[in-house]
Symmetry: C2
Subunit: 425 residues, 2 copies
């Protein structure tokens, strides 16, 4: 079963937006046991869209397109595909009624341009859009003029806005996929997520012990990002479940202390789970990470049960008012110092009566560095009932990467404390 | 000048990561006056990578690949491309020395697997990697066996990690591009970013007045996202600058109040600039957005001059301790209420002695909703010296989208106050 994905949109090729559809759809398909063989992005121009669709139809059993179904003048995918397949566009009564009702229900006048969304290529099935006006479309290309022997392909056209595309895929396409292409044997994918080790070291520690499994067809992938190295184990068909499970045991016995989660479990999810299980609470005091630690933790449903407060104390005055940092400590050591990090953590812990408090103070840049404390310098403190521990790190990145790397180190410090693992460095 | 981009990595096709390279490289190339004609992502398998490279070489003057140059066993792009082009891999002394020095300088032992990064296809030029071990590579494919008439193409291979790829592109590839492919006439792209209007309404308001320019070759694109609709004006060649500038004037006269920024200027950057210009200060009090407002603002360099503090007060107790919210208000109206939002904003403003304070309290979900206050309900308050204004909104999205949409509404409320624009609703 070959699947190809085509994302249309000049904004993608001009680098104006991230292609979130690729990740989301590839992930959704993988969860259903299908891997996408190729993804292509093309601009909103006739020749590019048509050649990409023609090429994909020449190879794939299923071609999914995103975008170009809306009401504006650059929404041309519908017309181009009808033309490519030699089909007329006809009014679909249900689709047109849906567009009209969309505006009626919201008490908004219907812009004339939106009527075009009631037009569909002859013979296409219409997918109703619960969150917008553009219907999705399914076209059975049978016979398929672009494929050797005329072998049939299915073409699924999804609207571009994520909040329209995603429910349409989950509610309407996923059930159809199970019928169209029952998967042959299981496809198992397991990702083990580590922090604190380099990519080469991860491989050197796990590749040897995994060799008997990879020789037998287990696939290993490594993916290094800032503050994280993932090991991905995949196998398809008979025995896949067992081989991946055995691979996971081997990876865990080699680098288990560094693994904070599996698959989609982020470090922040792990922490909310660990704290919830232990009925423990956390407070945050952030300077240079500017609320990013609080943001990561509060992305996790249920965070409100463990996170009491997060204080983003950028100014010295706020550090004194809200955390009780001593003005003499600020004057004597500077706001970016081990002593201030310690007082911030202890102040946040005491004022919130929390079990743990994490505090971060540093220089995110681009300005503000000195010889003794260059841009990227950061102090991370963890206060708990036993002690307050302060790490010093040098995270020389752009501002947003700095925030991520620092928050990863802070969360890992807390994870190692909760689980009584050795501290790094 | 045709450019194609090939991103390698099974993790992309399995939907494990976002393809940030696509946006970043396409954007960087557009800024140099070049638009990418096609982007393709393929998994780390020999046949897929080779067929994608072969096809791109058959069409494009410049083919850029990302990924697959590292030391682990799934880093196979270097080998596959050497094989495809019939070139041997040879040790490049400078590249190998660089790998060795990378570890020596960091006082870390060199994993044996990293030596492979000293191997390069015969005749390739080596791009030194200032931030990692894998060198980038440039290969002149001349004659080009895959292109009609043997027409030459250039192949640029960049390492996968963003912090290695980005400086290599900026410092080494961009200057070469200016020599390789001097752009014919200017390519001008201007994006006007609005919030508060739907995509169809934006088009209905601007397309007519722009018609004389689009008839003369100005290209308009619309891009709708949560909380934002962009209008993108592009033109190439003679008179491009003037046509785009005239287009911008027309768009601004039609929907100017809704435009918060242009090109890369985000709403948070606009606000930091507006506050800095006016020497005014801001404090934040967040419940359901959980630090995301503070995070957005502190992503802007210079935010420390205007943001005094951000208080993420998840618990009722924290709302009382840090913001002085009255326990009777919490008991009488509930934490998610107009009255509590008002007291949060006024408390944050008073305790920070700030010119403005924004406060947000709501139900991000998935749990916690009721009939009177369903999931997605949010109250957004803005306190300043004239008055405190509170908006009620219903943002029915997943948790992270909820945070974004809410933060956009809050920042827009502040922008309209600072600029004395009419409030929405």
């Amino acid at each position: 079963m070959a699947i190809e994905l085509i994302n249309t949109g000049s904004e993608l090729l001009l680098g104006r937006v991230l292609n979130t559809h690729q990740q989301w759809l590839c992930r959704g398909l993988a969860d259903l046991g299908h891997t996408v063989a190729r993804q292509v992005a093309v601009p909103d121009t006739g020749a590019d869209i048509q050649s990409a669709v023609r090429e994909a139809l020449s190879r794939a059993d299923l071609v999914i397109t995103t975008g170009g179904l809306g009401p504006t003048s650059d929404d041309i995918t519908r017309d181009l595909i009808a033309q490519l397949l030699g089909r007329k566009l006809c009014v679909d009564d249900a689709a047109l009624r849906h567009v009209e009702e969309f505006f009626t229900k919201r008490n908004r006048p219907m812009p004339a341009s939106t009527r075009v969304q009631g037009l569909v290529p002859e013979g296409a099935s219409v997918l109703m859009n619960a969150h917008g006006t553009a219907p999705g479309l399914i076209i059975d290309v049978n016979p398929n003029p672009f494929r050797s022997g005329g072998k049939a392909s299915r073409l699924v056209m999804l609207p571009g806005p994520p909040r329209e595309l995603r429910p349409m895929f989950i509610e309407q396409i996923a059930p159809l996929l199970r019928n169209w292409f029952p998967t042959e044997g299981a496809f198992i994918c397991r990702t083990l997520r580590s922090t604190g080790l380099g990519e080469s070291w991860v491989e050197e520690n796990v590749a040897g012990p995994l060799k008997h499994l990879t020789d037998a067809g287990l696939d290993i992938g490594y993916c290094a990002r800032i503050g994280e190295v993932d090991v991905r184990l995949t196998k398809r068909g008979g025995g896949a479940q067992e081989a991946v499970a055995e691979g996971e045991r081997i990876v865990r016995s080699a680098i288990g202390d560094y693994i904070f989660g599996a698959d989609d479990e982020s470090l922040e999810q792990t922490l909310v789970r660990l704290l919830t299980d232990r009925k423990q609470t956390l407070a945050l005091a952030e300077s240079c990470t500017g609320g990013y630690l609080a943001h990561r933790l509060t992305n996790v449903p249920g965070a409100s049960a463990v996170l009491l407060s997060g204080l983003v104390t950028y100014s010295n005055e706020a550090k004194q008012t809200f955390l009780g940092v001593n003005p003499a400590t600020l004057a004597g050591h500077g706001a970016v110092s081990e002593a201030v990090a310690r007082e911030m953590a202890e102040g946040a812990r005491a004022r919130n009566r929390a079990d743990y408090a994490l505090a971060v103070t540093g220089i995110a840049g681009p300005g503000g560095g000195s010889e003794a404390k260059p841009v990227g310098t950061v102090f991370i403190a963890l206060a708990c009932n036993q002690e307050t521990r302060v790490l010093r790190r040098l995270n020389r990145y752009d501002r947003e990467t700095f925030k991520f790397a620092t928050s990863q180190q802070a969360l890992e410090l807390l994870r190692r404390r909760i689980l009584n693992l050795a501290f790094l460095d």
